[in-house]
Structure formats: C-alpha cells, structure tokens
Symmetry: C2
Subunit: 226 residues, 2 copies
DNA sequence: CAATAATTGTCTAATATTGAACAGCGCCGC
DNA sequence: GCGGCGCTGTTCAATATTAGACAATTATTG
C-alpha cells in the first residue's frame, strides 16, 4: 500500500545532513519514556529531529477517544505541521522510549532548507505524506477492521521495521490498545485478529518478544479475504 | 474543525496569479460533466488548475467500494500529488459539471513557484493539507457516523459554500451516495441523518434545491450529542 | 414532453461491532 | 522475590451497522 520511494529516502538523508549542520551547536533535548514533547494546543512553533528513540503522535477527540497517527523513529522529523501557520499543536507527541531530540524553530527550519536547496525536496516529502494519508483515509472508509489492521501492520513494518531475510522485525513495543486507536476499532477485536494472524503464521513473536511481520504472506492473505 | 487560515487564502491568490501567467498562452482543456480528467494509474505528471466548474477526487478500493476525497472548485489546484514522484495517479478525477482546466507539467509547476518565490507558501499550503487530512483520519477513527456526516458537511460548506447572512449555501449537487463514500457509511444511513438534520433545522433546501448549512446550529448540535 | 434513469426516504433481517467483564501472564519496581 | 499493575486473550449480551429491497420522487435526455 505505501511504497517507499527510493528518491524520498535520498531526500531524507540530505535533510538529515542539513539539520545536523543547523543543530550541531545546540544540545539535544532529553525526553524520558512516557513524557510529552508537546501537547494539544501548545503554541511553540518548532520542528523536531529525532536522534534516538521513538515518538508517537496521538490526537484526542472531543470525548475521551484517541487516535494514534504515527510512530517516528531515529532520523525522522516531526512537528512540521507548525509550518501550516495555523498555530497550536493538533496532536500530542509522546516518547515511547527515552529519546533525544533536536529542536529547530520553524522559521529557521525553512531557512536552512532554502539555503541547502532542499525546498523542492521537502515539497516532495510533504506530497508523499499527503498521498500516504489519502491511502489511510480510503482504507478507513472502504475496508473492514481485519483488513485495516493488516494494512496498518504492514505500514508500520515498512516504516520502522528492520529487515530480516523473509520478514520484517518491529522492535518498538506497540500495545493492542494503541493498535486499536490506529485501526479504528476496539482492543478485544485487535486481540482476536492478531491471534488469527498468528495462527495463520502471518506474524509471530521472536524470543525477544519482538513482532515479526511476514510481509509477503500477510499481503497475500489480505488480498485473499477481499 | 477545519479553519480557513486567512494567510493561506492569500497564498492561494498569489499562486493563482502565478499559474495564470504560466498558462496564459495555453488554451484551456474542456472536460464535460461526468468525464474523467485522469483515472487511477495514469502516468501523466501534471498539475491542474480549475478555471470553471468542479472536480471530484475519488479513490477506489480493492473490491468495489469507493471513497470521495475532495471536491475542488474554480481557483483550486489538484493533481499535485504527482509532485511526490511516486508515479501513477492514486485517484480518479471527475468533472461534476462542465469544467475548464489549465494543465501544467509538474516540473514546470515547481519552476514557476520557485521563480515567483512561492515555494515556502506552497509548503505551508501542503502542511495545511496534511493537518486537514489528519483531522479527517482522527474523525473516522474516533467519532460515529452521524457526527462524521455533520463534520463533513461543515467542511464542504467552508470549502465550497457561498456565505449568506446566517448560513452557507452549497451550490454543487452532492448525492447521498457520494456523501456516504466520504463519511464512511451506507446511503440509507445518510438519508436518515440528513432527514434528522432537516427536522432539527440544521440544514435546509432553498427553492433552487441548493443545500443550506446553518453553520452555528449544526456545530452546536454536534457538540451537544458527544 | 414523455420516457428513462437517478436519487431519495423508508423498512427490514442478517451481521458486525461495541463495551464490559474477568482470568491469566509477565514485567517492573521495590 | 513479592506485590501490583498493565497487558493479553476470551467471553457475552446489547447495540449499531450493513446490505438488501421497495415505492415515491426528482432529474435527464432524446
């Protein structure tokens, strides 16, 4: 579903280099596990670059419900939505592990990209983001929860997973509860589907309790239950 | 939910001016009602600018279901996702009325923005898009279909509607079927909710059969049924 | 203008989903 | 190493949603 375009990886590296230069004199911010980087409504207009760790982005609804939008890992940038100029964060960013971040004011961020001729690259990056989200929206609207869970797992695996010979390993621990808020269903339901995937050997847990996704098998299964 | 940022409107005008210059020597493309501008998979990497008419963007799923992503009107740009470099359209773009378009190859589009110093503005525009879609995703995940329909109506009204003293008029005709594919539910369900909204006088139809949205009342109602 | 097609409003039975409960397990901190 | 806490797996009844069907209306189009 979401394809990794090689040239967008190339841009990512360039951007990392660029941001590394921009921030090499500032000391990293340490955010401990379970602590927030920012919460809904915060006005601080800065972009973050992850040196180490993982950050999850969660949006809350009017009542209590939550929706996890993404998990970002080392080398990723987040908080870029302040570039919209809307003011006020829309989501909460929380560390899933002890994390080191660099913070760049959003004006400086753009200036740096401009100086390094990366504006067009960043436009491409944002276009990919829009395209990905479009897929997510279409999935939420058109397919059932089992299918959505499958696609979400593939998506996470492709974004964060370490590649093994015939599978992808996800080292971040993601609870069923969290998966439920990504997929748009309830926790028990996720448990059932995960169990089913496990029985069909589309996924498994290794000795370190890391989730292993058999990309091919899972993809094939999802196609088969249309 | 989706606020119109005044400065993004300003950028839109600048972009319109810029694209007007770029395309003033090319003749507009005429697309008749119900005809496609492009369909899923098309390779042509061009951006479109709407001079007159409306274009809807629809994504299809593996099985038959569809999802309407957006309706664009005069002055809007669409097809920008080709800037992602992923190749191949993800959605189908269809004229809802007889429409006039200008077409710009995606390379030329970026060049023109660069020449007119609009790259940063375009980044802001894309960031707003990402933020909007994020809202849509969170809504699909966290709130029920009646609420989603309400929010969708407000969203459409703010994007396409003409403002009247205490309401917004939507002149494009949108069928319940189409609403269903935006909201992620079935047609009969949309009928019921629309009827309910009508009885509560949150919406109404004028003599020209245009849908009138009472923005305030509808917003208040949605907040009341949390 | 008449025929045809598309849209709407409404109803159902069949199905899927929720939310709440509870036991077992494993991890963490002390 | 022990207690507690959060996560998982499972169940169930209550509820919401779907996928038809149908007549009545409203557009379209030749």
């Amino acid at each position: 579903m979401i394809q990794q375009a090689p040239q967008s990886d190339q841009f990512k590296e360039q951007m990392q280099g660029s941001l590394f230069n921009e921030t090499k004199n500032s000391s990293p911010i340490k955010v401990d596990k379970h602590n927030h980087v920012y919460t809904v409504g915060d006005e601080r207009e800065t972009v973050y670059f992850i040196e180490k760790g993982q950050i999850k982005l969660v949006m809350g609804s009017s009542e209590g419900k939550e929706c996890m939008l993404a998990i970002h890992g080392a080398g990723d940038v987040f908080g870029e939505l302040c570039l919209s100029g809307l003011g006020g964060r829309l989501e909460t960013a929380t560390a899933m592990e002890d994390t080191l971040l660099k913070e760049i004011p959003c004006g400086k961020f753009l200036d740096r990209l401009a100086k390094d001729s990366l504006l067009e690259g960043f436009i491409k990056y944002l276009a990919v983001r829009v395209a990905d989200q479009q897929q997510v929206i279409a999935n939420l609207v058109t397919v059932d929860s089992e299918q959505r869970l499958g696609k979400t797992l593939l998506q996470i695996a492709r974004k964060l997973g370490k590649k093994d010979p015939r599978s992808i390993r996800i080292e971040v621990k993601i609870s069923h509860e969290e998966l439920a808020t990504m997929v748009g269903t309830t926790r028990p339901r996720i448990s059932v589907f995960m169990q089913r995937f496990r029985n069909l050997e589309l996924i498994e847990y290794n000795t370190e309790h890391h989730l292993i996704i058999k990309e091919k098998k899972l993809t094939a299964y999802l196609a088969s239950i249309l």
